[in-house]
């Protein structure tokens, strides 16, 4: 049986949860098995996971699950996995899933692979999955040899598939220890898609000359419904907030579309963004290394090109 932990934020699923269930059912099909989903705490409309392929949805309701604590969540998921006889446990490769994966591996004495980007190759009774390594510069095939296998699924890798119908939610009786981590506050930027989840990203670098010029980047992002990002020196100089820094030592992203404006394309920058499906580079220097990693390029002055692109996007969206 494949157990998918479908994570919710403030009681609501994000795309990552549906992707994990889609991955779960496709893995179950390969193994001739079933996919069931687990939700923890109060979750709205948990039965919709059936639409993506969960044949059953379990919920554990317990006051200790109100806030995320990897220790408490892992204890509950491990018990559920044992109780239900799971052979594969699927998590999302998010701040939550990443904090759980290692704990579950230690608890269940199971091999784990973080950030998988392929369905398992189960030929010959094995279990092999691919993941990005060297910050996106290479791909490694991992073999898991333990009876229970653990994976966290990288975002934006598996196209969602609705194959089933809503199912009833059953409660699962497992115990939850109390948390030793106190949440004092949670601060979220409202109204923007966080970078790791963004399907479109508009990113800018030192070519912008200064923070006062970012209006044109924000206008383009707004027209595209994109999230903004930046290169490291831009964040280091406090032109932009640190959470926008993408690259090898910043956030690693894999959107469908990455637009790089006035960024040279240093190897450490590319390492965090080269898994984007389509890359557009706008740079006045035709020799900028980024063009080698790009799908589409515009050689020109960003201060002229970007506003024109914004107009063209607006015109397209209006038509």
């Amino acid at each position: 049986m494949i157990l998918v932990f479908a994570e919710a934020t403030s009681g609501h699923f994000k795309k990552a949860a549906f992707e994990a269930v889609t991955y779960g059912i496709q893995t179950a099909n390969l193994l001739g098995s079933q996919c069931v989903a687990l939700t923890l705490g109060k979750v709205e409309n948990a039965g919709q996971l059936g639409v993506y392929g969960a044949s059953k949805v379990y919920n554990v309701a317990n006051e200790h699950l109100a806030n995320f604590d990897s220790q408490v969540y892992a204890a509950v998921i491990a018990q559920a996995a044992e109780k239900l006889g799971a052979t594969v446990v699927v998590l999302s490769h998010t701040s939550t899933g990443k904090s759980l994966l290692g704990r579950l591996a230690a608890r269940l004495k199971a091999g784990s692979v973080a950030g998988v980007k392929s369905l398992p190759d189960v030929s010959g009774g094995g279990f092999k999955v691919n993941k990005g390594v060297y910050s996106g510069k290479a791909i490694a095939t991992y073999e898991i040899s333990s009876p229970i296998k653990l994976v966290s699924l990288a975002g934006n890798e598996i196209p969602l598939q609705s194959t089933g119908n809503e199912v009833a939610v059953e409660s699962l009786d497992v115990t939850a220890p109390s948390s030793r981590v106190k949440v004092l506050d949670v601060k979220r930027e409202e109204g923007i898609v966080p970078l790791p989840e963004a399907v479109t990203v508009v990113s800018a670098g030192r070519g912008m000359k200064g923070p006062e010029n970012w209006g044109i980047v924000e206008d383009l992002a707004k027209a595209l419904g994109a999230t903004t990002a930046c290169s490291r020196p831009v964040a280091d100089a406090d032109w932009r907030p640190h959470h926008e820094h993408v690259g090898q030592t910043g956030v690693a992203i894999r959107p469908n579309l990455y637009i790089a404006i006035g960024i040279s394309g240093a190897i450490q920058h590319l390492a965090g963004v080269n898994q984007s499906k389509v890359i557009v580079v706008i740079n006045k220097d035709p020799e900028a290394p980024f063009f080698k990693a790009a799908d589409y390029g515009v050689v020109g002055d960003l201060f002229e090109v970007v506003p024109k692109l914004t107009e063209a996007v607006k015109k397209f969206k209006a038509s």
């Binding site: 990443k98 904090s99 591996a105 040899s145 949440v183």
Partner: protein
């Protein structure tokens, strides 16, 4: 205060990555190695700052062969008190975590630090595993950590925001950008590092349950399609019709 910092050795960030012809192993010819930046810049430096302020010791721990000693010495030069190397080939995350936890369990550390991930395997798993083996709380992706007595206040990076958390020692934390600023070791630090205690410990028996068996390089881009800066309608058309991303 007694602090343990887990460090790993990774290829330099400028490295061009390649593999042996059969794709089975990383090709380290011509590669220079560094301490994993998250371990060095954030975890280790913050640990040193905490003991400089509150007194105590910072112990470095690494699982690996003697070829890691240079990296470990750099950590001592930055300011750690002493170092331990578990003499084993680090092939899988759970194996590594087991070795660290086995060493740590009798030492009563107040805090175990690691970096948020290593820039080679990008697993982000070891910290959580060590925390589980030690039965301690784990705060991942912490971009801020302050301590007052036994109570730590941390900021943890989450998608689109931060959580402000409070936890009592002992606990395990993984460090992200923001926790500290990179320190360049000075001459005195480098000299002192040579005489700091450095222990080599035999590993405990533990299986490797998930290992890389093959490496490949991503498909090269087939070549950039250049669009005239005067024709952004054409770029939008291509992104819509050809690339299908808008």
């Amino acid at each position: 205060m007694k602090i343990l910092v887990c460090i790993s050795k990774t290829p330099d960030t400028t490295s061009k990555i390649s593999f042996t012809a059969d794709g089975a192993k990383f090709n380290d010819a011509g590669i220079s190695f560094i301490m994993n930046p998250y371990d060095e810049w954030y975890a280790l430096v913050r640990a040193c700052e905490l003991v400089e302020k509150n007194g105590g010791t910072v112990t470095l721990i690494n699982v690996g062969g003697a070829d890691n000693d240079q990296t470990i010495r750099k950590g001592l030069a930055i300011g750690a008190t002493d170092a331990v190397r578990i003499d084993a080939e680090p092939k899988s995350a759970l194996f590594i975590a087991k070795q660290i936890a086995e060493y740590a369990k009798s030492q009563n550390y107040d805090i175990v630090f690691c970096g948020k991930e290593s820039i080679d395997y990008n697993g982000s798993e070891v910290g959580a595993m060590v925390a589980e083996y030690l039965d301690q709380p784990f705060v991942s992706y912490a971009s801020k950590l302050d301590i007052n007595g036994n109570t730590a206040t941390l900021e943890r990076d989450i998608e689109g925001g931060v959580e402000i958390l409070e936890v009592q020692t002992p606990f395990v934390v993984s460090a992200a950008k923001g926790m500290a600023e990179q320190r360049i070791p000075n001459m005195m630090g480098i000299m002192k590092a040579k005489s700091k205690p450095f222990q080599v410990v035999a590993p405990v028996e533990f299986p490797d349950l998930a290992v890389p068996v093959k490496f490949t390089l991503p498909k090269e881009k087939t070549g950039v399609k250049l669009v005239s800066p005067d024709d952004m309608d054409e770029l939008v058309r291509l992104l819509h019709e050809e690339a299908k991303v808008i």
